[in-house]
């Protein structure tokens, strides 16, 4: 396939069957390989859409500075887009973010502002909002509340999945900004009667939740509960176990959050078998495993991996 530039090649990812992990011909799993995007994650879609929407709205002009609370894939995607489009990018990220991520962001030219590790992403969001107030000329795309995040999936990921899998009965994805689930979920609900939209959210170790105040929690502005059929919390042990099963059985090398998504998808598949129902279950592979090798999740026993992930934001 030929594209005019790297930005033009975002999306149009393969949907591949998982014949060995699927329970049988009537209940099948399909993986949407979002790691095949230019920077290796699903976040290339919302990053590009948020930037292009801000351009259309006249917020972003050549030479502008983009600010975003992210240490993860969105930062990497935005760094690539910003570089190609000529913007400066400032990322706010918790200080306990892995060195690979810092290096990747810096290689694409992003500048990094650290936020206290203890507050996790919530704290990064708070610091970014404060920076935005100090620098009114900076443009914060704010993936947790930017409708263009979900729209990117409504306009691209959803249609691609439905085109490749018209018999889809379930869509399973990770719940972070909620953009993927909101966008694909809305698209499918408008077109596929009875389709089930299932969220898999990471359940971290106690150190991560720490002494977080229950009155100051965080729910992304994009989140609309009515789009979802249900929502599962998946712990690190199950996520890592599924990452390894996916590699052993289907040859796919995925990131840890995808393990959590597969865990929820297999639960959905088991229920369909139990109920004697046909199911075509599409799940999102958010990214590959490369960026997570240093977490220790891929080596040693499950007990070792679980212990190493305690205290980490692994998804």
């Amino acid at each position: 396939m030929r594209y005019d530039s790297l930005l033009d090649s975002v999306g149009r990812t393969p949907l591949v069957g998982l014949p060995r992990l699927s329970p049988g011909p009537d209940v099948r799993l399909w993986a949407k390989l979002e790691d095949r995007n230019p920077t290796g994650s699903v976040k290339d879609r919302p990053a590009l859409w948020m930037v292009e929407q801000a351009e259309k709205d006249g917020l972003l002009r050549p030479g502008c500075t983009i600010l975003e609370p992210t240490s993860g894939n969105t930062g990497i995607s935005l760094a690539m887009v910003a570089r190609l489009k000529g913007y400066r990018l400032v990322c706010v990220m918790p200080e306990n973010t892995s060195s690979e991520r810092r290096q990747l962001l810096e290689m694409w030219g992003a500048e990094i502002v650290s936020s206290p590790a203890a507050g996790g992403s919530n704290e990064a969001v708070r610091v970014a909002k404060a920076l935005a107030e100090d620098h009114p000329d900076w443009v914060m795309l704010y993936q947790y509340g930017n409708p263009a995040n979900a729209e990117s999936h409504y306009a691209t990921t959803g249609p691609e999945i439905l085109e490749d899998l018209p018999s889809i009965t379930h869509f399973v994805a990770g719940l972070g900004t909620t953009g993927t689930l909101m966008g694909v979920g809305r698209f499918l609900r408008e077109r596929v009667p009875g389709v089930q939209i299932v969220a898999a959210e990471p359940r971290y170790g106690e150190l991560v939740y720490g002494l977080r105040n229950l009155d100051e929690g965080f729910v992304p502005e994009l989140y609309d509960e009515s789009v979802l059929t249900t929502r599962y919390a998946v712990g690190p042990r199950d996520a890592v176990r599924r990452v390894r099963e996916l590699l052993d059985n289907e040859g796919l090398f995925v990131g840890i959050s995808t393990g959590a998504i597969l865990h929820a998808a297999l639960g959905v598949a088991a229920r369909a078998v139990q109920d004697g129902q046909r199911a075509d279950i599409a799940l999102v592979v958010c990214d590959g495993g490369w960026k997570y090798l240093s977490t220790g999740a891929y080596a040693g026993t499950l007990d070792d991996a679980e212990a190493r992930l305690e205290g980490q934001l692994w998804a």
């Binding site: 892995s98 990471p202 229950l214 959050s257």
Partner: protein
Amino acid sequence: MSIEVRIPTILRTYTGGEKAVEGDGATLSELIADLESRHPGLRARLIDDKGLRRFVNVYLNDEDVRFLGGLETEVADGDNITVLPAVAGGADTPVSG
């Protein structure tokens, strides 16, 4: 007859520091009332007059009770309930190194 309820760090002041407590009830609402009888103050941290508090997530065997029956979700002996604060997260959050 008992149901295990995992309590987040922030609420362990109500459970004498216990990470998990046990309770009874046919629904989540009854279970929380039962817990309140031994751990006074806990209920008000989980529920307000509109139901479950906005930044409190409760899971029955890993499934969010908001998608089951909310406070009227049926619970049974051997079930696991997990209470967690809502946090930002997902495929975009960092991995520490």
